[in-house]
Amino acid sequence: MAKSVCQDKVYESLFRTHAEPLINYIYYKSGNYAKSEDIMQDTFAKLWQECAKVAVDKAKSFLYTVATNTFLNHVKHEKVVLKFEKKGHSQLSQESPQYLLEEAEFKEKLEKAIAALPEDQRIVFLMNRIDKLKYREIAEKLDLSVKAIEKRMQKALLQLRKVSQKL
């Protein structure tokens, strides 16, 4: 029997692979984590309802398209506020209070600058930096060319550099 999204095992494996990146993707758009999880759940529910119509190799693109549409339908366009956890310090050797303060300040400024980026640039930047996805992988998920991803990244970097220069 050919692999089908309607098979429970296939569906579960898709969920395990894509649930978290999908939440993150919506979060980068919305800045609302709870909402992002809801949208991910709705998107996977939709995938199950349409499982007969979606080929396994098209499931990834289906998920991102449906999530994007659901986001557009449900999330009001408010000013995006992004907050990220910090795993550690960029330079463990310099933990002076002065440095920590500066670093916290820098983080906040950078978060604001990223939130202020045009949505398409912000998504690409964060998928690359936070989810550690290659340009090619981002391109696949968003149904875009690698070139388009690269361009968006370039623009994002040029914009963010201005923030860095001010400090």
């Binding site: 969920f15 939440i23 759940q41 960029s90 670093e103 930096r129 936070i130 690269e150 990244m153």
Partner: protein, 299 residues
Amino acid sequence: MINKENTLAKWLNDEISDSDLVAQEGSEVLKDLKKITQEVDTWSMPKYDVDAGLVKVRAKLQKEAPTNRGSKWLKLLSIMAVLGLLIYGLYWFLNAQNEVLSADPQQQMNFAFHDGSEVWINSGSHIAYKSSEWSTQRDITLEGEALFHVSKGSPFTVHTDNGSVTVLGTQFNVRAWGENLYVECYEGKVQVQQGDQTTILTANERVSVIGNAMKAKQIMDNTSPTWKNGMSRFYQDKLTIVCDELERQYAIKIDLKAGDRTFSGQFKHDDLDLALQSICKPLNLKYTISNDKNVVVIE
């Protein structure tokens, strides 16, 4: 040579080295980008509990699926019901409507009705009819000129502004005693077939089939079979055939002692004596009627 396009993005994707970036964009850019990425790369998103999420989404599917599927089926059913009604209504509407057939100028049109009748419509003419009533009443409204071939069936009338034409069908008589067949056509047209021989009779034509041989058509003057007027008529029929008819008309028994010969002529049904004379006189035969008038001897 390095492509200068999107160098910052390419550097970030490890496609070009630090020194290449510095060469292209200067050391400040490298410094700034490193500062940004070093900071951002320590950030993370919350770890999503996939197992809990899977339980949630499955619960959601179980809660939604049955009602969802149910309402989908109900929706489909109601759509089908509405569609069915629409089709039925449309069918009824179209059937109750007049169907119009038109021949464009410089064109003629041929149309076959479902009963096998056909119409040829001349240029610029048109007809209208109701297909729903066709099996019980074949009414056609004609404007212009058309040729009709009418199959057997219900009354067939062509209505025009100047009057109407009704097909009356045919009237014909068939006589098939012994091995002979006689057909007379008084109105319309009939086709007579014997083996592979076929002939078509129109009004006032008759044909005889003697044995296997179909004779030539003859013109006749009668408009109904003579037996309807109390007479039996024969055209060169064997005497035995004539005697058989006598027996049937008068309910008698005939004892034919004379040799076989042919007879042309007729006899009346209400006077046995006169009838016998009509037959015997031309053939020089004699007849005797028994006392009880039940047996006739012809010699």
